[in-house]
Symmetry: C2
C-alpha cells in the first residue's frame, strides 16, 4: 500500500526534505509526483520529479550518488515528506557539495561554508 | 540588503525547511513570500505566508511558540531556504508535537512516534 499524500495542494507535487540519517544535516529539497513516490517506496532508493527537466529523476542516476532511504516521515497535513537517507558518495548537490544548503547568510550576503566532496566537471563531464 | 530568492519558480512562494538549531531535528516546512522573507530577516523571528489562510503569518502569533532564527541558509538554486531556529515552547506543530513530521512510515501505514509537548485544545481554545 502506498500512503496517500496531498498532491493537489501544490500542483501535483509534494516537497521532500532530504536529511542525512546519521548526522541530521539537511541535504536538499526535491519534489515527488505520485509515480516517484511509489518508486521511492518500492525500491528504497530516492526518486523525484525534476521540475527543470520535467521528467522522473532517479537521484544519482548520472553521478552514482544515489540516496538509500532509511526512514520516511510524513507531516501533519500529509503535504510534505521527510526522507532520512544514506547519501552514497557523500554529496547530494550537483555542485559537488555535501548539501545543497552550502551557503550561509551573513551580513546581507551569502558565504559558502559547506563541504565540497567532488568536482562536478569530472563527474558530469562539464555538462553543467 | 535582502538577498534575492527565486520566488518565480513556485508561484511566488519559496519553501523554507525549518530545523532545530541544536538537535538538527526537522520541525516543519513552511512558505515564504517576499514580504515574509524580508520580515524574517529584519526581525530575526520567522514569518511565513500561510497558504490555507492566504495571509502573512508570524509563526507562534497565537500559541506564543515563535521561532528565533539562528541561521539562514540558501540552497544552490536560491529557490529553497533552510532556517535553523530556536523553537520557543519546544513545539512547532499546531497539533502539539515538537515536529510536524511526527509520523513514521512503517509497513504501509503511519506510526506516530513524535514527542507531544502541548495539548492543542488548551492552547488554541478548541478552535482547531
Amino acid at each position: 500500500m502506498t500512503p496517500n499524500l496531498d498532491f493537489a495542494k501544490n500542483g501535483g507535487l509534494v516537497p521532500a526534505v532530504v536529511q542525512d540519517h546519521q548526522s541530521g544535516e539537511v541535504l536538499m529539497l526535491a519534489y515527488l509526483n505520485p509515480e516517484s513516490w511509489k518508486l521511492t517506496l518500492e525500491t528504497g532508493i530516492a526518486h523525484y520529479w525534476s521540475r527543470s527537466r520535467a521528467k522522473l529523476w532517479k537521484k544519482g542516476e548520472q553521478s552514482g550518488n544515489v540516496q538509500e532511504v532509511r526512514e520516511v516521515r510524513v507531516d501533519c497535513d500529509a503535504d510534505t515528506v521527510l526522507l532520512r537517507v544514506r547519501q552514497v558518495g557523500g554529496a547530494a548537490c550537483h555542485t559537488g557539495y555535501r548539501s545543497c544548503f552550502h551557503r550561509r547568510l551573513e551580513g546581507g550576503g551569502l558565504v559558502t561554508d559547506g563541504v565540497r566532496v567532488f568536482d562536478p566537471g569530472q563527474v558530469y563531464g562539464g555538462s553543467r
